[in-house]
């Protein structure tokens, strides 16, 4: 076995330029795939993290059934117990508690139906991006009770501005009337029209008082350190909190369940990306195929001689296959290394695409996009290159079997 391998290795270096070019083609393709896939996945991660930070968090703890039907009565009765448990979980970046109620909000001029959300100003600033989305006025302070943040579109529609008063009227947890006058402290703009038109945020304590919630809340919103930690955290909560603490009125939906559209959109984009990659790999494979074919044709004489001295065609075929495998592996390794280095560089410093800053800013997406190197992104592309290159080298190799030693040797 090893003599073919040694010969194969020596053979490929007999013609360094050709070998280097072939390796370069494979390395180039691998490198591009590593980088592009890392970039794509990194973009997705950015997209997910950004979307998730605007309101839903990576995962939430809620009462069972709340996801489907946000009834006031479906609450988390003991947020303190939940908080204590969450503090013990590694992988959680931050968490915060929220309450929601569907209310009428009215200004002097207009009345609208909105969702009023009670937030813990300190914790919320870490868990979601809302603080940074406040464009006018200021964010809420911890002890603010009767002040509110409002979406820009809503403030326009109600014809109100900072320091104006609005009235909210809704139903408390026990069915009683919940009503209050709030002063607008800040106006935010998330870029998502639905959000800016239908949401008002106020202090959690104030909300609990107005809506007769006591200490209970509706949602525990959790942000994870990274996207990969989400399922681990979810498992942890399900196994160790929900069952042991005996509170099976709670559920732990993750962002995919809360925002199914996001995941699907990403899947769609991934598919179109994959189409592009496959085309690239086909082109590269073809390049390699060409090269191998020509090389083998060129070495017809050499093979003829080998066959004449008794080498079986299948051994020659094996030899040639080894040659191609060697080149492929070197190329792939090189591609992975360079690709990874380039990716890591941009992972640190980010990529800035001219012309897109405005749109990205609107949506709260950072201007720099970061590729993310992972086992998948580093291995998937090169693996496919390996497969296809392998396959494309088979045909030329098989041609050898058809050689007639005498005729072959007569070749120039």
């Amino acid at each position: 076995m090893s003599i073919e391998l040694k010969m194969a290795w020596r053979n490929i270096w007999r013609n360094p330029r050709r070998t280097l070019l072939t390796i370069a083609a494979i390395a180039f393709a691998s490198m591009i795939l590593v980088f592009m896939l890392s970039f794509q996945l990194g973009c997705y991660e950015t997209m997910i993290n950004t979307s998730v930070k605007i309101s839903t968090g990576h995962l939430q703890i809620q009462a069972k059934g709340y996801l489907k039907d946000k009834k006031m009565r479906l609450v988390i009765k003991n947020p303190d117990k939940v908080a204590k448990f969450l503090d013990t979980i590694k992988g959680i970046d931050t968490y915060t508690f929220r309450t929601n109620g569907f209310c009428l909000v009215s200004s002097d001029k207009r009345t609208y139906g909105v969702v009023v959300t009670g937030i813990d100003p300190l914790k919320e600033a870490n868990a979601s991006s809302i603080k940074s989305l406040v464009r006018k006025g200021s964010y809420l302070k911890e002890d603010d009770q009767y002040t509110a943040l409002m979406g820009g579109l809503l403030s326009n529609n109600l014809k109100v501005d900072i320091n104006d008063e609005i009235t909210i009227l809704g139903q408390g947890r026990d069915g009683s009337i919940a009503a209050a006058v709030l002063t607008i402290k800040g106006i935010f703009n998330s870029g998502i029209d639905e959000f800016d038109r239908n949401v008002i945020m106020m202090g959690l304590k104030g909300f609990q008082e107005i809506f007769s919630m006591g200490k209970s809340v509706h949602e525990a919103v959790i942000t994870a350190d990274s996207l990969g930690d989400v399922s681990m955290i979810k498992q942890n909560i399900q196994n160790n909190f929900l069952t042991i603490k005996g509170d099976d009125s709670l559920a732990v939906p993750d962002w995919m369940e809360i925002m199914p559209g996001l995941l699907q959109g990403i899947q769609m984009d991934l598919v179109s990306g994959i189409i592009m990659y496959i085309i690239l790999v086909i082109v590269v494979a073809f390049s390699i195929f060409n090269t191998f074919l020509m090389a083998i044709l060129e070495r017809t004489r050499e093979f003829g001689v080998m066959m004449a001295i008794g080498t079986s065609p299948s051994r020659i075929t094996k030899l040639v296959m080894f040659e191609s495998i060697c080149m492929t592996i070197v190329g792939i390794l090189l591609g992975i290394i360079i690709g990874s280095l380039v990716t890591l560089y941009f992972q640190k410093y980010g990529i800035f695409i001219a012309g897109t800053e405005d749109i990205l800013k609107e949506y709260g997406i950072p201007e720099r996009l970061y590729p993310r190197l992972s086992l998948i992104s580093a291995a998937a592309g090169p693996f496919v290159v390996f497969l296809i290159t392998f396959v494309s080298s088979v045909f030329p190799a098989l041609r050898i079997r058809k050689l007639n030693p005498v005729k072959a040797m007569a070749n120039v």
Binding site: T167, G175, A179
Partner: protein, 248 residues
């Protein structure tokens, strides 16, 4: 011969249309009896759910078929909260924020005060007369009194969500039950009235319950602690100003 047939035909026609008008009349009379020309009452409303219960005391004024004012007097923290229905609009008042708010369409299908009545139910209280055609299905005798079972179908263009309503009305014009059906004629909720006593100048059911058809643990119970029927009430009671300051 021909004349006989004609006469029989006319009589038959008269009889059936009489029966038809009868159903209509029965319903109208029951409705008028219930709403009276005007009334002032004190009601205890209990909203019952599997895991909680809420009790409120409400003072109610009604005038004619469509005007009504409900103001909460107990518990103390909800005291002064009121709902006014006058003309085509519906308003709510909350003393804590001291605001009168007109209810927009998006709130109409929401429940009133968390009960099994929707805001729309209150707003469209005269819908039974305006929007339905009634037929008498049968007449039974119960405790010596005739009880009519009436089927009410919505008029073709009427903006009502129900597919059908069935009423049972006693011959002395007391509404005993009202069942609401969806368009596939499956029952959705049912209102029953009982505990008939003398109230002022007439017999009246003091207890009313609105309940969803598929559960017994969710219902809203109205108990009339006091009710007085009047010939008329001042129009000014049914204004936004009075909503804010109803003198309870």
């Amino acid at each position: 011969m021909k004349k006989a047939i004609l006469i029989i035909g006319i009589l038959f026609f008269a009889a059936s249309s009489h029966a038809q008008m009868s159903a209509e009349t029965i319903v109208k009379k029951a409705f008028d009896y219930w709403r009276g020309e005007a009334s002032v009452s004190t009601i205890t409303m209990t909203i019952h759910r599997p895991d909680w219960e809420r009790v409120m005391t409400i003072k109610a004024w009604t005038r004619g078929e469509s005007d009504s004012l409900f103001v909460i007097t107990k518990p103390a923290k909800d005291r002064g909260n009121g709902t006014l229905k006058a003309g085509k609009g519906m308003w709510m008042y909350n003393p804590k924020v001291n605001r009168v708010i007109k209810l927009p369409p998006s709130m109409m299908s929401q429940s009133w005060q968390g009960s099994d009545f929707s805001n729309n139910d209150l707003a469209k209280s005269d819908s039974l007369i305006k929007d339905y055609m009634h037929t008498l299905e049968n007449t039974k005798i119960h405790e010596g009194k005739k009880v009519y079972s009436i089927k009410s179908m919505p008029k073709p263009e009427a903006p009502v969500i129900w597919g059908m309503i069935k009423l049972t009305i006693r011959e002395d014009n007391i509404l005993l039950s009202e069942t609401f059906f969806d368009e596939d004629l499956a029952p959705v909720k049912i209102m029953t009235a009982w505990d008939i006593q003398m109230a002022g100048d007439r017999l009246f059911p003091l207890k009313w319950k609105m309940q969803k058809s598929d559960t017994t643990t969710e219902y809203t119970l109205f108990v009339y602690e006091k009710i007085k029927f009047k010939k008329s009430l001042n129009k000014n009671i049914f204004t936004q100003t009075n909503l804010k300051n109803p003198g309870i």
